[in-house]
């Protein structure tokens, strides 16, 4: 009985901890808040950066990528890719100037410690379709450089500010 109570208590503590971590991004360490969400792009190995998109000339890749983006990415990055509740803006030069191989590398491996899951659960062809769509979004000229953008509640520069600026 005592073991059972201990196990239940331990379970309750872990469950409370998981909910707390998930619901209080603002209380995370200052280090996470201030580090650039785009830093992962620079970590891509040269070989990965140099990979061309095999679906670059596929006429349907952009529209298929759009469907995938709406299904899997828009929840965090916003339907336009530039305004999301949890993920960084994707229509900034840091992302749009990155090579397709770099985006594929980040997409496949995720940025797990910063909340982006690995997307290798999608077949490789679908990840390339997503990359094709991402690159088709282009830079939103209304944006100021990433470093200069104020941080919003998510801790990421630019999120939630773009559309207000446009409006």
């Amino acid at each position: 009985m005592r073991r059972c109570l201990l196990a239940v208590a331990f379970s309750a503590i872990l469950l409370a901890g998981s909910l707390s971590m998930a619901q209080n991004p603002g209380k995370r360490s200052e280090k996470v808040r201030t580090s650039s969400p785009y830093a992962e792009l620079a970590k891509a190995p040269e070989k990965a950066q140099a990979r061309p998109n095999p679906l670059q000339d596929d006429l349907e890749a952009v529209s298929a990528g759009r469907v995938l983006f709406e299904d899997h990415c828009a929840e965090c990055h916003g339907f336009s890719g530039e305004r999301g509740k949890h993920g960084p803006n994707l229509r900034v030069p840091e992302v749009q100037n990155a090579t397709p191989g770099t985006l594929f590398w980040v997409l496949s491996g995720g940025v797990v410690r910063k909340g982006m899951p690995v997307w290798s659960r999608l077949p490789e062809a679908q990840r390339w379709q997503l990359v094709r769509y991402l690159k088709s979004l282009g830079v939103n000229d209304a944006l100021t450089p990433a470093e200069g953008r104020p941080k919003d509640a998510t801790g990421y520069p630019g999120i939630g500010t773009t559309n207000r600026a446009v409006e």
Partner: protein, 296 residues
């Protein structure tokens, strides 16, 4: 109310409840029912799953066991799940068989050729448990012959550890699970395994959203069984199963799974039909947060 009518009512209520859940997220699930792959639930998403196993029983009554899973993505590297289990044995009774709480942790920051996930579970179940969510030790078909009224008197508190390894290669997912179970009373460690391989029928996505596109169907097979215990390691006296698996990921956020399962030796149930239905709710964590804080 008869046994079958009761089940139809329960399943109907679950389906109506699932359908009324808000903000479904498009799932991209592998078809396994027993094997775990290396992928965790997306952060803040909640997946609610209902699974059924219809099992044949030699020398006794066939049964229908079922469980509901609440799977929550606490972070991108941590998924936590809560289970409620029950079973109905024909010509016997329907009993709740226990609760489980599991956690899966992804220790590595990035994707590699082989991706480990660590799994820790606490189970509080009784002896009437028949869900066969995992097999370990010397679990055999004849264990299920005990009538529910007697079997439910036995209570088990178990800790279960798993090493989950998963790889993706040319559209295939290959996953291996190694299970270590310890009854928290003075019983030896028991071991088990599960292996799975699956692949979507189509690797490219369609330009238009569709329900029956080949990329929404994932087919494969899984094999699982016990590996004995600390004192008697090996396949002798264990049960072993082989099961084709098929998942249908519907754009509306539902995932359906089906798996006819075949026993591979005389200790195994000859046949089981396993079905699963799941729905993923996006940003459940955010909904809870807003509910407690109010809309700003």
């Amino acid at each position: 109310m008869s046994w079958s009518v009761r089940h139809v009512v329960v399943v109907a209520i679950l389906i109506v409840w699932f359908a009324s859940l808000p903000r479904a997220a498009r799932a991209q699930e592998n078809p396994y029912i027993v094997t775990y792959d290396q992928f965790l639930e997306e952060p803040r998403n909640l997946e609610i799953e209902y699974f059924s196993t219809y099992g044949t029983q030699r020398g006794g009554n066939n049964y229908h066991s079922y469980w509901v899973e609440f799977e929550y993505g606490a972070t991108a590297w941590w998924t936590t799940e809560f289970y409620l289990d029950a079973q109905s044995t024909m010509h016997d009774s329907t009993v709740a068989t226990g609760v489980r709480w599991e956690n899966r942790f992804r220790p590595l920051k990035r994707e590699h050729f082989i991706n480990p996930v660590l799994y820790v579970e606490y189970e509080h179940v009784n002896g009437a448990d028949k869900i066969l969510k995992e097999l370990e030790g010397h679990d055999v078909e004849s264990d299920f012959l005990t009538p529910n009224g007697e079997a439910r008197k036995e209570t088990k508190n178990e800790a279960e550890l798993k090493l989950i390894l998963g790889s993706n290669f040319k559209g295939w997912n290959v996953s291996e699970n190694f299970t270590f179970v310890k009854n928290l009373t003075n019983e030896p460690w028991e071991f088990g395994y599960a292996l799975g391989a699956s692949r979507p029928l189509g690797l490219k996505a369609s330009a238009k959203r569709c329900s029956f596109c080949p990329q929404n169907l994932v087919a494969g097979a899984e094999m699982y069984g016990g590996l004995g215990d600390r004192y008697h390691l090996g396949l002798q006296g264990t049960s072993q199963y082989l099961a084709p698996v098929l998942a249908w990921n519907i754009p509306s956020g539902w995932t359906l799974r089906v798996s006819p399962t075949f026993g591979l030796n005389s200790n195994s149930h000859q046949f089981m039909l396993r079905l699963g239905i799941a729905r993923e709710i996006s940003d459940f964590g955010g909904m809870i947060k807003r509910a407690f804080r109010g809309h700003s």
